[in-house]
């Protein structure tokens, strides 16, 4: 039974682009649009505090952990932005930059064509990886920012600083689209074009495949505890239990609300609360780890959307959920209760 209380809209703004990515860190929210418009907003009020344009469009935006800098990536290159004076460094490399990942407030990894580049906050290159087998699709840091996981066709590679060659390779024939590393440091997971999730145990690279999804897996996310992984690839969101020995031989919980999932974001904390967005404009809030394995869950709450597809979701702290819609609306919903949705 859904509770009747509507989440209060804290702010609601429009950007002149079709949003594709959101990032929330500290007191800032960044939204990037398909045509390259990047807006930096104050999380509390939604007021614009900075902006930049990435020529050729954008694919992803990532604020640094301290919200002091921002990296935006796109089909033609990438850009860095500095909060103190708004300085923007645009690098029109001509290479496809699918993703950025901050190791810490001072270092960011940027996918650039078939390589990953690690840059300082001025955009100076610290080191770069050797080319992967295809254009890099996603990046994630492991070991507290000491090892970089790079996903591309055929494998996920682990690189350590100043070593272009991978120090570890997690092979699996297929196109790895999304990468998630458990905060426990125990698991590395990739979502695959072949409609499967591939999982490696970091300790010994023992692997397993979760197949049988009807569609490709392009979204994967671990919660803060590292015990739960949410994935798309079907109308139902699947939530796998990675505690103990991991998900081998287990069945996931299924979260039924959307026809096509377009966004997944765990609420900060270890409460097992998840926000999801759909192509039909619905935003759902879930107690995603309630019940038993193999159980099909219903949303705790659905938020009034904007009638157009949800493009991205991000939590600006535990009490503010940001939703960006395909038509350019960006809305912040208040979730006041600490324990409840």
């Amino acid at each position: 039974m859904s509770t009747a209380v509507e989440a209060p809209t804290v702010w609601d703004i429009a950007v002149d682009d079709a949003p594709v990515s959101l990032s929330a860190r500290g007191d800032l929210v960044a939204v990037a649009g398909a045509e390259g418009t990047v807006r930096v907003l104050d999380a509390a009020m939604g007021a614009e505090t900075g902006s930049l344009e990435l020529p050729g469009g954008s694919l992803s935006v990532q604020l640094a952990p301290d919200a002091g800098h921002l990296a935006a990536t796109g089909p033609m290159g990438y850009a860095l932005w500095r909060r103190t004076d708004g300085r923007t460094t645009v690098r029109e490399s001509g290479a496809w930059s699918a993703a950025a990942a901050w190791a810490d407030p001072e270092r960011v990894a940027i996918a650039s064509g078939r390589r990953a580049l690690v840059l300082d906050t001025d955009g100076e290159e610290l080191w770069r990886t050797d080319p992967a087998a295809s254009t890099v699709t996603d990046l994630a840091w492991m070991r507290q920012g000491r090892r970089l996981a790079v996903a591309a066709y055929g494998a996920v590679h682990g690189h350590e600083r100043h070593t272009p060659k991978p120090v570890v390779t997690y092979p699996y024939v297929g196109s790895h689209l999304a990468l998630a590393v458990a905060p426990t440091g125990r698991w590395i997971c990739s979502g695959n074009q072949d409609a499967s999730i591939h999982i490696w145990r970091i300790r010994d690279a023992g692997d397993l495949t979760m197949s049988g999804y009807p569609e490709k897996i392009s979204r994967l996310a671990f919660d803060d505890s590292g015990f739960w992984l949410a994935a798309d690839g079907a109308p139902d969101i699947t939530v796998w239990d990675f505690s103990g020995k991991g998900p081998e031989g287990t069945a996931p919980r299924s979260l039924r609300c959307h026809e096509t999932i377009t966004a997944l974001a765990w609420r900060p904390g270890a409460g097992g609360q998840l926000a999801s967005g759909g192509d039909d404009g619905t935003v759902a809030l879930w107690y995603a780890t309630a019940g038993r394995a193999q159980q099909r869950l219903r949303p705790a709450r659905e938020l009034t959307g904007d009638g157009t597809a949800v493009a991205a979701l991000a939590w600006a702290g535990p009490h503010l959920l940001i939703a960006a819609y395909r038509n350019g609306r960006v809305r912040a919903y208040g979730v006041p209760s600490r324990a409840a949705l």
Binding site: V20, T135, Y153, V173, S175, Q193, D194, S196
Partner: protein
């Protein structure tokens, strides 16, 4: 606002332009982009920076071929197209048409299979047609080129996959050569529409939005697909058309077609057909690329219309007799008439 009883396919049509270097792809592209058709077109180029038109969005791509782990050994998709088309569809600006220009050496199969294999793309885009350009005066030497064992002759593949073949530069070839090229093209792909042209000057309606991959229109625009072509002993890539009256037993057809595509799918480049299934009031229409098959029930059989089955396979080392025999055995009345 008008409403129609039939749901219209609102997906954006995608045309794939293939052809060897020098066949006139760039000329045709420029022609398409500069003609006043009022369409907003996006172009994905695999050959770097040849076209630059203010009005169109031009994106460069580098071919990335990905194998799929789905038990279908020949199943590959184009990773570059998946990501570029994905990003394109997230933009606010809507395109009326998308053109993909492949390199002269590109295999059309992964391009076509991408539209079968990726749901996100299939939901928003439809493969309209594969258009292959040839340089009339020089295509025979490419088609006749003997490749080492295991290496594909790309020119043959591009003809085999084509829905339209533009015979370009006919002004630079004599009548005899033109006739020879047409016969050779038809020996590979009997149903393909051949469009002679000079300087890639063609009526764009013949190549854009033709619906060649539309199940509703399968074979509809290929009246000649069964015309027996001049047999060429040296041609390993050929078409086999089958036209058989009667109704098919689904329990026989499915295993036959399934086994055929699983075992011979590597060699069967394209397949399509309109079938009469016993007990079904509607025509069954299918279309395939290698091992991938897309089928659905189409229009009703009309009163008094003869129930018959028409299908065509285009591929390498096809055994016409075996295909005919195997298919005939799927008839609900098989045995009785044989």
């Amino acid at each position: 606002m008008t409403t129609t009883a039939e749901s219209r396919d609102t997906r954006v049509p995608v045309t794939v332009l293939t052809g060897f270097l020098g066949s006139g792809k760039t000329t045709l592209l420029n022609r398409i982009l500069t003609e006043h058709h009022g369409m907003r077109i996006a172009v994905i180029e695999n050959e770097f920076g040849e076209v630059g038109i203010d009005d169109a969005l031009v994106l460069d791509a580098e071919e990335e071929i990905f194998e799929m782990n789905n038990g279908c050994i020949c199943c590959t998709v184009r990773g570059d197209l998946i990501r570029i088309l994905g990003a394109l569809m997230r933009r606010r600006e809507k395109f009326d048409h998308i053109l993909i220009e492949t390199t002269g050496l590109a295999d059309p199969a992964p391009v076509a299979q991408t539209f079968f294999m990726d749901d996100e793309i299939a939901a928003q885009l439809r493969l309209d047609a594969i258009v292959t350009l040839v340089d009339t005066a020089h295509v025979l030497q490419h088609l006749d080129e003997v490749k080492p064992e295991g290496v594909e002759n790309e020119a043959v593949e591009q003809i085999a996959f084509a829905d339209r073949v533009v015979l370009n530069k006919t002004d630079l070839a004599d009548e005899e050569t033109i006739g020879h090229v047409i016969r050779r093209v038809r020996a590979i792909n009997s149903g393909v529409r051949v469009i002679p042209a000079q300087h890639a000057r063609i009526d764009l309606q013949q190549v854009l939005d033709v619906g060649a991959f539309d199940l509703e229109r399968v074979l509809a625009d290929d009246p000649s697909f069964l015309t027996d072509t001049e047999h060429q002993h040296d041609a390993t890539v050929t078409s086999v058309g089958i036209d058989l009256p009667g109704e098919l037993d689904e329990d026989k057809l499915n295993p036959w077609l399934g086994t055929l595509l699983r075992t011979k799918g590597v060699d069967i480049f394209r397949s399509k057909g309109i079938l009469a299934i016993a007990g079904a009031p509607k025509q069954y229409v299918f279309q395939g690329v290698h091992m991938l098959l897309d089928g659905e029930f189409g229009r009703d059989w009309r009163d008094g219309e003869e129930r018959r089955n028409r299908l065509v396979f285009i591929g390498r080392n096809l055994d016409r007799k075996e295909l005919e025999r195997g298919f005939a055995a799927c008839l609900a009345t098989a045995g009785a008439v044989a």
